[in-house]
């Protein structure tokens, strides 16, 4: 080999391809011989090595261990032809994640703080059951296909429960659509007196040709929630404090698109797809065997549990989903805590219809509801979760002094803040400040009226581990890990990952007398913790360094 041949070999380094498939394989023996004798070519060779090293990642990206099974599960649940899957899925997952926030946040306070811990239940994985649930989600989407108006009727059964706390805290998430096309996350409150139950009628209409839809929920014959799109405007039922109701109609924005995947917010599969898309969800699904349905049809009972370590898992909370064997349609969904059914959503008669009873613009509702109403057991609270809010929004909405990090944690990414309904003391709001960290050490700071009033006593059983120059105290106690699990689970919408093996939780006490809760999804050095706490400042004081 001479110098010219050597340079050609180096130029073609990325092209060299031996018969056995080994890439970047130059004529090694001849090259070595020439390099021994020619310092200039040896320098060029070293340069080539450096250039190759500069563009060759030492760490190889690989798919998650469960991606293959997730793909095959999704394929199993996909009936041909199914178009626009990509568009639907991204949107669906996002809604599902916020569904998880809503659910976790509710149980964070309602179950986690009020109820004592129960025994843990063994996790059980069953891919076939997971696949069946995925197929049920796909079947739910098929209900909205076709070229005629679809009419679905479900009944929400609030079961008699003797425990006064459980009787009081029941709710379901409700999604509605804004004129901008963005989803809005609300809460259907389903409180009852101990030992008493009732039902709520849930009716939906969807026109596949135009994208028009209407959903109306009624309790005791009165509409408690309504949301529709009539082709030009989005219509919503609003209830004033005095009980007066009105339909608010707002023209859709120029960027508005009718929902492409109505199953995301209508019908029985709402939120289910999002739950299944969460990491590790396969291990939470269990086949509970065959069941006989009304009329002699066969069905399967599938249990969907909650991640280990969280309050829901500790209270043996789960969904039981009854799926018809013949068409994989969901027949019934039950929500249980400590094996006791709290809520049941039962599918009723469905099919095609001409138009909604109340009209696409909901004009029939006022007539049936009247201008005012007596106090109803069930109700609707809007804006259960408002994702991605600004600090200005927090400042305007907060009824207590909210703290934020003046400097973002150096290891973490972009800050996101969610404004969440404080379920224990509505209509107060709680604020979740989250950072999704590149190294997995995600940060969650939760502040709420309920925390401020209920978590204070916990500092007495904890140990003061640090006080910042600004006077923020860090308390460590026996429930640190529990607190961290809850906070991190609640923030899955933004941090994506499930809580790690050794998350860190602290209860903070601020000079303003509030008690924020802090969680970090991994180890933190003393300096990192001090830096984090030192940068906490109250919002609304620019002179103090408003974040």
């Amino acid at each position: 080999m001479d110098c010219r041949q050597c340079r050609e070999t180096l130029d073609g380094l990325l092209i060299a391809e031996a018969e056995d498939g080994v890439r970047f394989a130059p004529r090694q023996a001849e090259l070595s011989e020439h390099l021994e004798a020619c310092p200039d070519c040896a320098r060029q060779h070293a340069l080539a090595l450096r250039a190759l090293a500069a563009i060759t990642p030492a760490h190889v990206v690989r798919a998650s261990s469960d991606l293959r099974s997730r793909i095959m599960t999704a394929i199993s649940a996909t009936p041909p032809p199914l178009s626009e899957v990509a568009v639907k899925r991204h949107s669906r997952v996002r809604i599902g994640r916020w569904m998880a926030v809503a659910a976790a946040t509710a149980l964070l306070l309602a179950v986690g703080l009020f109820l004592r811990r129960g025994p843990k239940e063994e996790d059980s994985a069953a891919v076939s059951a997971f696949s069946l649930l995925a197929q049920a989600c796909a079947a739910e989407e098929r209900l909205f296909a076709g070229d005629r108006v679809v009419h679905l009727t479900n009944t929400i059964i609030v079961k008699p429960v003797s425990d006064p706390t459980l009787a009081k805290i029941r709710w379901l998430p409700i999604f509605s659509l804004e004129p901008t096309g963005r989803p809005r996350f609300g809460q259907l409150t389903l409180a009852a007196e101990p030992g008493k139950g009732y039902t709520v009628d849930d009716q939906s209409w969807y026109d596949p040709r135009s994208g028009r839809f209407a959903r109306v929920l009624r309790s005791q014959g009165r509409a408690i929630f309504a949301n529709s799109y009539d082709g030009k405007q989005v219509c919503s039922l609003e209830v004033a404090a005095g009980g007066a109701v009105k339909i608010v109609r707002r023209p859709v924005g120029k960027d508005f698109n009718p929902p492409k995947s109505p199953a995301e917010f209508l019908g029985m599969g709402v939120g289910l797809q999002g739950r299944l898309a969460e990491k590790g969800s396969e291990g939470l699904v269990e086949d509970k065997g065959a069941v006989a349905l009304e009329g002699g049809a066969k069905g399967r009972l599938v249990k969907l549990g909650f991640p280990a370590g969280g309050p829901k898992e500790a209270e043996r909370a789960c969904y039981l989903v009854t799926i018809r064997e013949d068409d994989t349609i969901i027949e019934k969904m039950e929500f249980l805590v400590r094996d006791e059914p709290l809520l049941v959503v039962q599918r009723g008669a469905g099919g095609t219809a001409a138009n909604p009873e109340d009209g696409w613009d909901l004009s029939g509702i006022i007539d049936s509801a009247g201008a005012s109403r007596p106090q109803l057991r069930a109700g609707f609270l809007p804006d259960m979760v408002i994702p991605n809010v600004s600090l200005e929004h927090v400042l305007a909405k907060a009824e207590f002094k909210v703290y934020a990090f003046q400097k973002d944690p150096p290891w973490a990414g972009r800050r996101e803040i969610a404004d969440i309904l404080d379920i224990v003391s509505p209509p107060h709001r709680m604020f979740a400040v989250t950072y999704r960290a590149k190294d997995g050490r995600h940060v969650v700071l939760m502040q709420s009226h309920s925390y401020n009033t209920m978590l204070g006593p916990l500092v007495k059983i904890g140990k003061l581990v640090y006080t910042s120059p600004g006077g923020v105290k860090v308390w460590s106690g026996p429930r640190d890990a529990w607190l961290a699990q809850i906070l991190l689970q609640s923030a899955r919408a933004t941090i994506h990952d499930p809580p790690g093996k050794n998350p860190i939780g602290y209860l903070l006490e601020t000079p303003a007398g509030t008690f924020p809760a802090l969680a970090i999804n991994g180890p933190l050095t003393g300096n990192e913790l001090h830096g984090l706490i030192d940068s906490l400042v109250p919002l609304g004081k620019p002179a103090d360094g408003k974040p």
Binding site: F24, E36, L49, V61, A86, D439
Partner: protein
């Protein structure tokens, strides 16, 4: 400082860890049964996720895109009978899906810079290693972006995605000779950049 001798430099392997090449699936037509799809998923999941990841900079989005491509293609499998080779089709589909996703992001350009290091190995890296891996990718991209697009893309397909020359030609829709030219001239420029940086 110790300088390695030319011979020891030459003996340093110019190799990259490589997975078994899915040659059978690459040239076969689009799978029609679930079993056939399972084989293709098994062969391509890692590679396509890697391909999507370097375009999106986020492992979760990359996996979503790959899953969507498989699901969509399987749902339309009856119309995919004219697909002569599954491999190039999958790479092009994933690339297009990534482009669609990025188009919807106002911060796409920034996002590509952001490498979710913690996700590189599904969270199996420690913080220091993850940061190092992120730095490696950022450094590589900072060099490649200075090349003409076609040369940079050929190098990415070759180095990151570990494709054969014939496979790159099919994905890029050009001849093998063209691929070789792009790799050759691209690598020449890269060496020049590294030399400039050193000086």
């Amino acid at each position: 400082m110790h300088q390695p001798s030319p011979s020891s430099q030459a003996s340093r392997a110019i190799t990259v860890n490589s997975q078994p090449e899915p040659t059978g699936a690459w040239t076969s037509g689009w799978p029609q049964s679930r079993q056939e799809v399972a084989a293709v998923v098994e062969a391509y999941a890692d590679r396509l996720v890697r391909h999507a990841f370097r375009r999106l900079g986020n492992l979760q989005d990359a996996e979503d895109v790959v899953q969507d491509v498989f699901v969509r293609a399987f749902a339309d499998r009856a119309r995919q009978t004219e697909v002569a080779a599954a491999g190039p089709y999958l790479y092009r589909s994933v690339a297009n899906a990534c482009t669609d996703l990025l188009r919807g992001r106002s911060s796409a350009a920034v996002y590509r810079e952001e490498v979710a290091a913690g996700e590189l190995l599904g969270g199996s890296l420690g913080p220091a290693e993850a940061a190092q891996a992120a730095e490696e990718l950022r450094r590589a991209e900072s060099l490649l972006r200075r090349l003409p697009d076609e040369q940079a893309e050929a190098i990415r397909l070759r180095v990151f995605d570990e494709l054969r020359l014939s496979e790159i030609a099919e994905v890029a829709g050009c001849s093998i000779n063209t691929v070789c030219s792009r790799l050759r001239y691209g690598f020449q420029r890269l060496r020049g950049m590294v030399e400039e940086k050193r000086e």
